[in-house]
Symmetry: none
Subunit: 223 residues, 4 copies
């Protein structure tokens, strides 16, 4: 289980990186269009060629503008990647339409639907997740981005586990945060293996396996 339905009290995640040195945002409509075209183009090129092999000229060619314009809106390849990832992170953290609310559903259903929402969001953004894994290894700035996402999920899930423990529904001996880290890792890694590396499994298999193991692992009482 990973992204649970968000509660009002949750804080927005901090910006991906320090915003100092950023180019000023466009002030004209034309400028906004150009900037937007660059972000869209960058995602296409990054997903197609990978971060390292993507050349700025490919991005500007895809966006239909000059390399000079690129530097009007971004100060580096790094920076446009941040912009691209920010969009995907939003989608990952707030996937939109959870099929059930926490209140009216059994814990197992909540777990299942959370996992499903996470896996589907991962699938949508799989190619970008590859990029993020890649740059997270190279660049501490993106390592922080990746860990922020992991931590957000782990924290959310840790709270869920704690709640269930308090309700006497699951194994009280588990450290909620460690268990959350481990089970979140399980789901995240399965998603990566299947959607990014091409391991064979259906969405249904993924959802059912991760949900059953997750529930079992907590020794969730069914009733």
């Amino acid at each position: 289980m990973s992204p649970r339905g968000r509660t009002k009290t949750e804080q927005e995640p901090p910006p991906l990186a320090d915003t100092s040195g950023l180019r000023a945002p466009p002030v004209t409509a034309r400028g906004a269009r150009t900037r937007s075209a660059l972000v869209t183009a960058a995602r296409v090129v990054f997903e197609r060629d990978g971060y390292l092999d993507a050349r700025l000229t490919d991005i500007t060619a895809e966006a239909g503008c000059s390399i000079g314009s690129f530097y009007t809106y971004f100060s580096s390849k790094d920076e446009i990647l941040q912009a691209v990832i920010e969009v995907a992170q939003d989608d990952m953290l707030h996937p939109g339409h959870p099929r059930v609310g926490e209140d009216e559903a059994s814990p197992e259903v909540v777990i299942r639907e959370s996992n499903r929402a996470y896996l589907e969001a991962y699938k949508r953004n799989a190619k970008l997740m590859i990029i993020l894994e890649q740059v997270a290894i190279i660049d501490p700035k993106f390592r922080a981005v990746r860990r922020a996402r992991s931590a957000a999920f782990a924290k959310r899930n840790a709270r869920g586990i704690k709640d269930l423990q308090d309700a006497g529904l699951v194994d009280p001996e588990l450290d909620p945060y460690m268990a959350s880290m481990a089970l979140s890792s399980m789901v995240g890694r399965m998603a990566y293996n299947v959607f990014c590396l091409g391991d064979k499994a259906t969405m249904k298999q993924l959802v059912e396996t991760t949900t059953r193991l997750w529930a079992n692992a907590l020794l969730l009482k069914v009733d």
Copy 2:
């Protein structure tokens, strides 16, 4: 649980990559010494600088030979990385001294010791695992290497789960291979997060958390 004690009937894995285009192995003792020095030096440099930033001249300087000698034994940075990884893979797959045998120990103990062996091997080779993750994203050849390792563990563990199901000791409704993939992913990813990315957790926490979750997830009957 990850690497189990190997049985006699297991086959050696095939070589990591096609051996065509490889430089001829040295025929003299002196040549073998130089080649070996290069592999050792390459591991040092890769772990220190990362694969992308490692320069061939750094490797040969570390090995105390000329750049020409490098090309006597390897045809690219790629190729020497393969040689380096092959050594680490051996250590990961056959970590040496399991503390218990399968026969005389309870399933939980077997799981714990297997996880411990895996995590310790991972810790020993953590820096190289970073490299492997990095190049696996870039290069299909190393992607195959990485998947071969994952598959080896998953298969081994799937067999263990099947055996426990046959013995009536664990949840019979789980698909052994899917469950194995998921639980192996859990342990592997925890190891990566802690030993490679710097997440905070002690070896003891790792072993206990993964073992308890693993046993719970299978609904392992304790006696």
Copy 3:
């Protein structure tokens, strides 16, 4: 006899090589200037040092620009050589000012002036012809360029021979194309031997010898 005055109906030869993979041509005047300076410099360096010994840095130094600018306009030493040769080929195929027209002159005069024009063009471009011979042996692309030039001359001359045969002025038993190939080879090789390899002969000797042999070989009737 070699290049005749061209007629209106003659087609321009196709470009020297496939234009795929070429760098985009410059769009600004400044860019055109730089590109042009590079071509001029390349000819100087190729003629001075030969193709194999010519270094890209010599060319850019001669052109007064950076090595990066070279790659803005050309993707390899190959490609700039093509540009250099294209200029010379134009001069060879259309040498400019034939001293007589075909109509008002006797066949022998036409042959003489054609040979003279060819030999003088060869002399002007002799150093580049050495380069072309050299690379034609190494690279099929330039082999095609060289053969295109030979074929253009041979075809042109074959037509001249055929016309003279039809007019009953020369040996009717000769195959016009084979004869043309052979006699064109004779002139071309003499030019190469004298202007490129340093065999001793004056321009006058060359013109008179090749013209007399050519006319004799066709058994040209003098009137």
Copy 4:
């Protein structure tokens, strides 16, 4: 027409290059075998890969010996090429079995059979002729070799032309040496175009065309 039957008074051509710095010839039978294997192998490799692309290790691999042995017999790549070319030059200059003697045959038959012998020898050694053209451009030493061959033919043929002029059988106004150079060039270049560059022509076409043009060019009286 090119190589005429040799006369007793002709000098052997000088050695291809100064023989100083040559390795001592082998003194044992084994040594002679190794040296011979290297020359044979070198011809194979040069013809297959060209001089520039031929690596010494390819030659020794083909010869089945070590690179060290190479330097026992030759001091450079240059030197073994000289040895290879020497063999071919012998074949070119003394092609073996002319079908007629000069005495009992008409001049036209002599011309035809000389041309045939030359063209056939050229065909046999075509691949090596490519190499020789290549290195003659690069290296003055081989340029001299090439010119020595040309000069030998031209001189021989000039004498033949002079004899025919003295007998009143051919155009007395031709400079025998210039004419010889030109006509020899014609035959040599045709051979190169067809056998080395792949121009299309049969041996019969080549012999007939060059012979007829040669005879015509001299205005040879037939009777």
